[in-house]
């Protein structure tokens, strides 16, 4: 556990100061076609300080973490704040007070499991794959752990001690299609917690791997999608990506200030009345959210942020600066990935809320369209225009699933597309694998139900 060398410095702060000690610990095992291509660990940490003066920030960080280095980092950050204040002369008043308090560890800090556990797990999973599944051209198994521990003291706001552990497994299967061309699908398993407790036995993943293999075999006969707009059912996994990429980024207040289309749409209808979207802080449906955040890296206590309520855009996600600009209360979205990173406005657990329909009924309601199941990646724009790759999809003909569809891309403008949502399933699927990229990486959670909507598909 990180020693506390920072609290003692709190009494020395002159300007508003955030002082953070952090260590990120990672483990990684990669089996490429059974070959151990990676067997690595890392532990990278240090201390950073951010100082506010006259509306501008100075930041400094160092890898050394000791009482002396903390003092030096605060001093360097203060120098940077003074430099900016002297050069830019913005002259803003102090930020509104957040009060004070402290939040201790909600998840106890633990040491990573021995690397041999990840290796044995990955090898057993690889053995299962080679034993059970025929006609594979290749396979990759990845076992990952990331633990992020932070101690924060602030001159105004809530001090905190946070630990966020994430354990993940990725499995890629590759087969040749009927034209002899390789096609690849993957499944990711990612959860908050300790690797051996979350993944006690590789056999427990067999059912999911069976599904992945069956889907891959279906893809061997896949057909091209029909290019253009079609009636589609988005699988819950895809709806979560939509919530994050297509809507979530456009309602981050720094992007709103940068010209995002969401800025013109506050309190306007941007989606069907069936769509409600929330960025959850730490609790969903009475249980811990997939990646709980209790206090952000500016010392703001984390609260849920209502983004879209029954189709109406209700708010943005903020840091203290942007909340002050818009005259609202910050809700704890300022987060930093590494010790040397400054807090940026980031999503936490962003989800479209489930509705009342059944997924089977959504599919049965489509006469001629597509069931879009898995996405590999996605990007969005300040205009709300988004793009997702779709690597698993099926035709829907007269309410029944038909042929598999070749990998394709879907696109649209979020606030247009969401207005076409006319059915929402009662499912809820969360995903915390992968990283969101925005100057820094960041772990985020995304979730959603299945949606029926009109969407533009790339194809031939």
């Amino acid at each position: 556990m990180l020693q506390d060398f920072i609290t003692a410095h709190k009494s020395t702060f002159s300007d508003h100061t955030e002082l953070r000690a952090q260590v990120n610990t990672s483990q990684r095992v990669v089996l490429l076609a059974g070959n151990m291509a990676a067997n690595a660990q890392s532990s990278e940490g240090g201390v950073s300080a951010r100082v506010y003066r006259g509306g501008l920030w100075g930041f400094a960080s160092g890898a050394e973490y000791s009482p002396d280095s903390v003092k030096n980092v605060v001093s360097a950050a203060t120098e940077n704040a003074v430099f900016m204040d002297n050069q830019v002369k913005k002259g803003d008043p102090p930020l509104p007070s957040l009060g004070s308090g402290s939040v201790g560890l909600k998840t106890p800090v633990f040491d990573p499991v021995p690397q041999s556990y990840l290796i044995d797990y990955a090898k057993t999973l690889d053995d299962i794959i080679t034993r059970k599944y025929n006609n594979l051209a290749s396979r990759t198994v990845v076992a990952n752990f990331l633990g992020m521990e932070k101690r924060l003291v602030v001159s105004d706001g809530v001090d905190s001690h946070l630990f966020q552990p994430r354990s993940s497994i990725l499995v890629f299967l590759t087969a040749e299609n009927n034209e002899g061309v390789p096609i690849e699908l993957f499944e990711s398993f990612s959860m908050f917690g300790k690797f051996d407790e979350l993944y006690p036995d590789p056999k427990l993943l067999e059912e999911k791997l069976d599904e992945l293999y069956k889907t891959l075999m279906d893809q061997r006969d896949a057909v091209y999608a029909r290019a253009g707009v079609s009636k589609c059912i988005l699988h819950p996994d895809l709806a979560g990506m939509l919530a994050h990429e297509a809507v979530g980024h456009t309602v981050e207040a720094d992007l709103v200030l940068g010209g995002s289309v969401a800025g013109y749409n506050l309190d306007k209808q941007v989606a069907s009345e069936l769509v409600t979207m929330v960025d959850y802080a730490h609790t969903y449906d009475g249980k811990a959210a997939p990646l709980p955040v209790y206090v952000d890296d500016e010392g703001t206590p984390a609260e849920d942020a209502m983004l879209i309520e029954k189709g109406v855009l209700r708010g943005f996600m903020h840091n203290r600066d942007s909340a002050n600009h818009f005259g609202v209360k910050p809700q704890g979205n300022a987060r930093a990935f590494e010790f040397s990173d400054e807090p940026l406005i980031r999503m936490r657990n962003t989800a479209i809320l489930p509705g009342k329909d059944k997924l089977d009924d959504l599919i049965a309601s489509v006469d001629d369209g597509y069931f879009l199941v898995k996405t590999g990646n996605g990007q969005a724009d300040s205009t709300g225009e988004f793009m997702f790759s779709v690597n698993v999809a099926y035709e829907i003909k007269k309410g029944k699933l038909g042929k598999a569809v070749r990998e394709t891309t879907i696109s649209g403008v979020a606030f247009d597309m969401l207005k076409t949502v006319d059915m929402v399933s009662d499912d809820m699927s969360w995903n915390i694998s992968g990283f969101c990229g925005k100057k820094q990486a960041m772990t985020t959670g995304m979730g959603g139900p299945a949606l029926r909507c009109d969407i533009n598909i790339g194809g031939r």
Binding site: M36, A40, S43, F59, A227, G259, N377, E385
Partner: protein
């Protein structure tokens, strides 16, 4: 121990004493200073000091890699023990190795340290230029920076490299805004060995990008679907990087899923296409001088006159597949110029797209790729006409390389890449 080569050598000796048959150690001390701008206003000055120690140990053909960012003796000793433990837990693999001793060198790409005041002045100048020349542009995020590092690599075969690198750079992300209209965001960046010129000039296409963003406040959707031509501009380097990711890199070759796995020295592209990675080029700033495997970097041909000449694989993948190791592992692409002007390339297009940015994933193993044309313009009857939105382009990358229509004689240099405009036909372009 303050000297990073001494630190690396100490760690190497400790790895050998602890049982490593072969070992390597990289150390670095780095400093970064950056000015941050959001929504056209300065927000932050950030200074980072970081250290890095990367250990690799082979014990009976078993590999362990451990990375920490502490360089004190206790941390090194702990890391050494951890690295050996990691190696002992691994599966043995004869393909694991380290570089042989060829020649030891020191590399100096330093520029005499940072001039913070001048970096601020250049940053302010850029903000003023954008404000004066492009009042409808909002800089969502602009970061100007100085990066300095000293690094060392040693291994148990006697290889020893030292390197010092310093440079300036910027990244800028911007949107045009007018009333309730916003353009798509766009971005660029450049690396510089000095601050002699304005940031605005560091990427020669940047002014044009800003102009195009303003023009993109009003867009047109393509009607229906057609097969046409795209001219990929130098601001869209993602397609070239995708070749590495999908067909030339370690994973695709080790798994054997690359469509080019048996294509070395065969024709894979139009004979006018030559692609190189050139970290040593004088037009590249801060280019790689040695690889993480411990080899001195050399410029290399990936595709020469349409023929595949090299994969982009490291030592492990080379040993595993029996294919030649890449001479560098950098991503500084240079594409040889063609013999036509960009203006003439556009004149020859009856219907197509000037593709300035591509929002899409990587190609599938089959080469199929589709994505949205961003910050892009329609070309009709030989003229660039309207900015487009919600327009998708779909094609097979491997087929497209054989369907090149032209390569421009003009090239753009931004410190990262040296790229011309490249035209491809047979592309599926679809609107709503």
């Amino acid at each position: 121990m303050n000297n990073i080569t001494d630190i690396a050598s100490y760690a190497l000796e400790e790895l050998k004493k602890a049982g490593a048959d072969k070992a390597s150690c990289s150390t670095a001390k780095a400093r970064k200073d950056e000015f941050n701008v959001e929504a056209n206003k300065f927000t932050l000055l950030r200074t980072l000091f970081d250290d890095s120690l990367s250990l690799k140990a082979l014990v009976g053909g078993r590999k362990g890699v451990l990375v920490v960012n502490k360089l004190d003796k206790d941390s090194i000793d702990e890391a050494v023990a951890g690295c050996i433990e990691l190696a002992k837990s691994a599966t043995p693999d004869d393909a694991e190795d380290i570089a042989p001793l060829i020649s030891n060198q020191n590399f100096d790409q330093t520029i005499g340290g940072m001039d913070k005041a001048k970096l601020f002045t250049r940053s302010s100048e850029y903000l003023e230029q954008v404000k004066d020349e492009f009042p409808k542009i909002i800089l969502e995020g602009f970061v100007s920076e100085f990066n300095g590092s000293e690094s060392a690599y040693v291994n148990s075969n006697g290889v020893c490299f030292e390197s010092g690198t310093e440079n300036y750079g910027y990244t800028t992300m911007f949107t045009a805004k007018d009333g309730d209209k916003s353009s798509s965001f766009n971005y660029t960046g450049a690396l510089m060995a000095n601050l002699d010129g304005p940031f605005m000039n560091a990427d020669p296409l940047h002014r044009q990008q800003l102009e195009e963003s303003v023009k993109s406040l009003d867009t047109r959707m393509v009607d229906g679907k057609f097969t046409g031509e795209i001219i990929v501009t130098p601001t869209c380097p993602d397609l070239w990087q995708a070749l590495n990711d999908c067909f030339l890199g370690d994973r695709a070759l080790i798994e054997g899923t690359s469509q080019w796995k048996d294509a070395l020295d065969t024709v894979v592209a139009d004979s006018r296409l030559t692609i190189r990675t050139v970290p040593l080029s004088p037009d590249i700033v801060g280019g790689q001088r040695y690889t993480s495997d411990g080899f001195i970097s050399e410029d290399m041909d990936i595709i020469k006159d349409g023929v595949l000449k090299s994969f982009m694989i490291g030592l492990y993948a080379a040993n595993k597949t029996g294919k030649p190791r890449a001479k560098n592992t950098a991503s500084n692409f240079e594409i040889s110029p063609g013999d036509v002007s960009v203006a003439d390339m556009i004149k020859d297009v009856s219907r197509g797209i000037l593709l300035n940015r591509f929002s899409g994933g990587s190609p599938s193993s089959s080469g199929e790729i589709s994505g949205v044309a961003k910050n892009s313009f329609l070309i009709e009857n030989g003229k660039v006409t309207d900015a487009i939105s919600e327009t998708m382009v779909s094609f097979n990358v491997l087929d497209a390389l054989k369907n090149i229509t032209a390569i421009s004689k003009e090239r753009n240099k931004n410190g990262y890449n040296i790229l011309p405009w490249v035209g491809f036909n047979g592309i599926t372009i679809s609107g709503k």
